[in-house]
């Protein structure tokens, strides 16, 4: 079986269905389960600070600002790092905590998914790859940050904000537009 088929076969995440349950440890050593946030909207953001498409959204301040804005609206934001040990984007948890702080990451938790189980269950392909789980625990968004698949920060302002459009719809109790679209970025370094 080729690796693509292997990856596809393990994906449990389907739009409209319950999101895959998981438990992972954050950079501070705290265990975090999706079930802990029942009744809240949860965002999962796949991360690798060495990826130019991730740099686009951090160095411009876009992702830190969104993390802050939506935390104020009661959203639980989980940044997930599925890089295997030794691969690009991996640091040991204490160093990752420092790195995330230096990059301005304001997520509720920065999760170390070093064995890739959470990433593969969700079918996370790239960084950044965005997922939204609604208050009922269903997966309601699987896709890109926005419509312009470039590493240029200047493009953020003119792009269609696919992810925040979806998140706003979830918070407003409306149907999620474009709930599944092609995410752009660097491959997750499983």
């Amino acid at each position: 079986m080729n690796p693509v088929a292997a990856l596809a076969a393990a994906v449990l995440a389907v739009i409209g269905q319950p999101a895959p349950s998981f438990t992972a440890t954050d950079v501070k050593g705290q265990e975090v389960s999706l079930a802990d946030f029942k009744g809240k909207v949860v965002v999962l953001e796949w991360n690798n600070f060495d990826c130019p498409f991730v740099k686009k959204h951090y160095q411009s301040g876009n992702l830190p600002k969104l993390q802050e804005t939506y935390a104020d609206k009661g959203v639980v934001w989980l940044t997930v790092n599925s890089a295997a040990e030794g691969k690009q984007g991996y640091l040991e948890p204490s160093k990752m905590a420092e790195k995330a702080a230096a990059e301005g990451n304001k997520a509720a938790h920065y999760l170390m998914d070093t064995d890739g189980k959470v990433g593969k269950a969700f079918g996370a392909k790239v960084t950044p790859h965005m997922f939204i789980v609604n208050k009922d625990g269903a997966l309601v968004y699987d896709g890109a940050m926005d419509s312009k698949a470039t590493p240029k920060a200047d493009d953020i302002e003119t792009a269609e904000p696919l992810f925040t459009n979806a998140l706003d719809a979830v918070l407003d109790g409306k149907e999620v537009p474009d709930s599944k679209n092609k995410p752009y970025g660097c491959g997750v370094k499983y």
Partner: protein, 266 residues
């Protein structure tokens, strides 16, 4: 005048070394098949993008992840450019992600036509923006490359051969070959009909030009079916939320003949 040009008009003229612009993990330059231009006469050139060993850049359909290379031309007044040719790609995996593109060097052929009254040295510019990836990392690149040419009797440069080879790798649309897609089936059923001599879809590598219609990681192989057609079954892309309305395939014959582009519309 250059001594080579003076004494041996028929000889291949060493190409003036174009300044290669380096950025990230690749370098770009603009090559010409002719040493000089003649007013009103089309001129064969190619924009070269060479990724470092172990790195690749992407086709129009990059597959999962990746990013198509973009090229914007800035020509002197009155100069015209034909379509920028995109040679047929190869398949690769970047980590787990299936993609389409070019390992190492690719030449994008483009024909320029000076206006009838063109004179004096001309400078054309091309802005390139690309993503180079290896298994370990992706690094974007940006460069502006220049082509400078003077008017005069055109000699063949040392780049002419490789420009010619690149031109033969650009897919062309031909008569006598058609594609049909049964859009409401799972998997999708693709069928090709051809009256073109020597074209055998079963002896081709096949690439989808659009993302999000057929699964980028799927094997796309046609086999001869009993009704004088060739048939392939392929899973739809997970991003295809409606039956597809159009699909364009690029067939790259294993015998090295020119690739074909075959389009279907519902």
């Amino acid at each position: 005048m250059h001594p080579v040009f003076q004494t041996a008009l028929a000889a291949v003229i060493a190409s003036p070394v174009p300044a290669a612009e380096r950025s990230g993990k690749a370098e770009a330059s603009w090559l010409s098949a002719a040493s000089h231009y003649q007013a009103g006469e089309p001129l064969r050139t190619a924009i070269r993008l060479a990724a470092d060993s172990g790195w690749h850049t992407y086709w129009d359909n990059p597959g999962e992840g990746g990013m198509p290379t973009s090229i914007t031309l800035h020509l002197p007044d009155g100069w015209k450019a034909g379509e920028i040719g995109r040679p047929a790609p190869v398949r690769f995996l970047t980590g787990d992600l299936p993609g389409f593109g070019y390992e190492g060097e690719v030449l994008f052929p483009v024909e320029l036509t000076p206006p009838a009254g063109a004179s004096g040295e001309m400078t054309a510019k091309a802005e390139l923006s690309w993503l180079a990836c290896s298994d370990d990392a992706c690094i974007p690149g940006e460069a502006t490359v220049e082509l400078k040419l003077s008017p005069g009797k055109p000699g063949t440069t040392t780049d002419a051969d490789r420009i010619g080879k690149a031109e033969k790798q650009v897919p062309e649309t031909v008569e006598g070959v058609s594609l049909d897609v049964t859009a409401d089936s799972h998997p999708l059923v693709l069928s090709v009909r051809s009256t073109r001599d020597g074209f055998d879809p079963a002896e081709c590598s096949v690439f989808p030009l659009e993302f999000g219609v057929v699964d980028a990681g799927a094997d796309l192989h046609f086999a001869k079916s009993g009704d004088g057609r060739w048939r392939a079954e392929v899973p739809a892309s997970e991003y295809a939320d409606a039956p597809p309305a159009s699909l364009t395939l690029v067939f790259v014959p294993e015998d090295g003949t020119k690739p074909l582009r075959v389009a279907w519309t519902k």
